[in-house]
Symmetry: C2
Subunit: 449 residues, 2 copies
């Protein structure tokens, strides 16, 4: 049995009774966190473009719901718009070693299909676990070489979304094999947009969720796909990776729950900035430094951080600022935090932040790079104006599995994000939070929002 076959057998056989309580509960946490990110994007460019596209090309009503505007449409367009919206504010979750943002691709597809099929909250949770477990393993399989050029959340995300929908459609092993074939051959998404601060990140997650759903529905109709799309000579790894490891696909299925390793985002910036941000914050608090005390910050990082963040020198948009190591550290140093509000009110316009930005450099560090992507170490060296050299280090950024957010902290984050865009009042947001905590008892996801 190939690694792909073993993965597909696991996905087909996975059922409710296999899920430990902590996996079920964490899936609810991740779903809440995802919903917050989608709500926070309401009204912000480019989300209304996707809403108008869905109105033009889709049906005027349907079984699935669009989070940012409450419209009902078909499952395909709900997945598309919800996929776009949940990755905009850079607050959605991340799995470290796969460098995959699972929530923004898995949940839009799973919710749309669950609503379309009238499935229960428990079905939705199980399907989402399947999407996380498969997506994370496929991301790990594709390796670091893939991520240098390809946006893993876009490429691998298509397969993760497809798997979640396939689970809601009760696929057997054979159907999962065909599903991976049809999803994998649609996998796309390049990092090139980043240096132009272009809108492709939202296009990527929108399409990954929607294309994954499309693959699953067509597979249910009988469409066949390549049986070895991941490992084959003309497959995904052959075309888009030089360090793929097939054994990652089937390792520890059913004993290791990769979903539990997923990190919540605390800062509203690219995850590659978080280790350094936390290390700097920790150092400044410990040494009682202010921004004005600091002459220079050298961040010692992994290669992936340089690949993704190295393009941005002077950010020209709020979104690009989230990929500027100097801006993120400037917000931390000057304002003590780098949340959505700080980004929107301070990142581009506060002279103290932009002058701090120019004091920050990135250097490849062998220890940090060696630990990555399993561990995201934060290492900074600060030179003070009075001539001292100080070292900051953290081993688990806030939100990492060993330093995770409590339900109280997640609810606070949900309130901040929902109110940032005005999508929900505090009372409405509270009611929605309660609904999420009751997901496992929800008989049907139809009209859930």
């Amino acid at each position: 049995m190939s690694h792909t076959q073993a993965l597909c057998r696991f996905l087909a056989e996975l059922n409710d009774t296999h899920l430990p309580e902590d996996v079920l509960a964490r899936t609810e946490d991740l779903y809440l966190d995802w919903l917050a990110s989608a709500l926070a994007s309401q009204g912000a460019h480019p989300i209304p473009l996707f809403e108008r596209y869905a109105q033009k090309m889709g049906p005027s009503s349907g079984p699935a719901q669009v989070i940012v505007n409450g419209a009902s449409t078909s499952a395909y367009f709900a997945a598309l718009v919800n996929g776009a919206s949940s990755h905009l504010v850079e607050q959605d979750d991340l799995h470290n070693s796969s460098v995959l943002h699972p929530a923004t691709v898995v949940f839009p597809a799973a919710l749309a299909a669950a609503q379309d099929l009238g499935k229960s909250g428990r079905d939705l949770l199980l399907a989402s676990v399947a999407g996380y477990e498969a997506g994370i393993r496929i991301g790990e399989f594709m390796g670091r070489s893939h991520y240098r050029i390809f946006h893993t959340t876009a490429t691998v995300g298509t397969l993760a979304a497809a798997v979640a929908v396939g689970k809601l459609l009760d696929f057997n092993q054979e159907q999962f094999i065909n599903l991976l074939g049809s999803a994998g051959t649609q996998a796309a998404g390049l990092w090139e947009f980043l240096r132009d601060a272009a809108d492709s990140k939202q296009l990527h997650t929108a399409k990954a969720a929607a294309d994954g759903l499309l693959a699953a529905y067509l597979t249910a109709e009988g469409l066949t796909g390549a049986r070895n799309i991941l490992e084959g000579d003309q497959g995904l790894a052959a075309g888009m990776s030089s360090d793929a490891e097939p054994s990652k696909l089937s390792a520890d299925l059913g004993s290791r729950w990769a979903l539990l390793e997923t990190s919540f985002k605390f800062h509203a910036s690219c995850r590659h900035t978080h280790p350094a941000a936390d290390a700097l914050l920790d150092l400044m608090q410990r040494e009682r430094l202010t921004a004005a005390d600091i002459a220079h910050v050298e961040t010692r990082v992994h290669q992936g951080a340089i690949d993704v963040l190295g393009r941005v020198t002077v950010p020209t948009s709020v979104h690009q600022a989230k990929f500027s190591m100097g801006t993120v550290l400037g917000l931390i140093a000057v304002h003590g935090k780098a949340g959505l509000t700080e980004f929107h009110e301070r990142a581009l316009t506060d002279p103290a932040v932009s002058s701090f930005r120019d004091k920050v450099s990135m250097t490849l560090d062998a220890e940090v790079d060696g630990a990555y992507p399993q561990r995201w170490l934060g290492r900074v060296t600060v030179t003070t104006l009075d001539g001292r050299t100080l070292h900051g280090a953290i081993d688990e950024p806030k939100g990492d599995p060993g330093n995770t957010l409590s339900r109280r902290e997640l609810a606070d984050k949900f309130q901040r994000l929902a109110q940032f865009s005005g999508a929900r009042t505090p009372l409405e947001a509270h009611a929605l939070i309660e609904k999420v905590w009751d997901l496992r008892n929800t008989a049907s996801m139809a009209h859930w929002l």
Copy 2:
């Protein structure tokens, strides 16, 4: 000005007055040929799957038409289903040096958008020329290394379709740059499905046409894309090619009409089999051989033919038989032709064909490989049962630009294809052919079918 910028300026400035008469007329020929391929697929797996998907996810009526069932829907779903259907019977056109099948991705997107926007037949033709010229140059740019793993018609096809729709939306240079970014970052499609005879080829062309259209409509709304998606460090060529040539993107714009170099398919099989098929046919006629006289046929081919056809030894489906060199040559040797009817009635079930199949081998030939992909040379060496060694050679397969099909031959092919599936009676087909020859005078493409 970069090659990409030069291409985008050409696309923006291209207008009706630039098109020579032979380009305009050939575009009508190609459109007719494309329509025939779509009609021929009516009712055949997996096309009804796409029809059902469109009915489930799309609106129940709309401005765009589905060729195989006459349904009206939104432009997105018409492009999707028409893209799937026009590549099924392996009779659609091919541009040699780019190894791109332009019609099956350009026309579905262009027709859907022209119908949606109420554009004229002349607008449709101009937009299609833009799609061909851009798509072919991008295919040549991506090089032979790309085609070894990626299905160029799927990947590059997404950009070709996008350009055609962008032209119908009257894009300026800046919008074309953004459009290429959003289309290029969706480019996907792997050859892996071929060895399993899976259905991905139809998924590829469906998605290329529909995704290209999606990119164009979102660009019109204001979505931005990477400005250097083709040539950039994290762009299409960086991720999916090792021999990209940027100068190909902007070479001879406005003086060389690449559309005129597109070949029509005479045999109903993969184009890689055509040179050998024509060389064998020519040799057998010249030497008055029958299949029973032949002990062995060695076809001397380019590497691309081995990459695509080498996977298939004993075909298990009619579609896979079109990728079996032995089966194609068996049909030629035993029945004198390899059209749709021969494939469906003989390819898998005629013992004379399958025993001939086992007499055929493929060998890499330096001369043939060196000429490819600009020229597709046919070279065969036949050993007869009475011990003779005979050589067959053709330099331009039937349907190539220097050996093209006349309007009479195209009309005959249209009738054969439309009647193969029963999609149109001879009289109906005749009326449709006349409508195509009048395309340049058609005021609006709305309700055209």
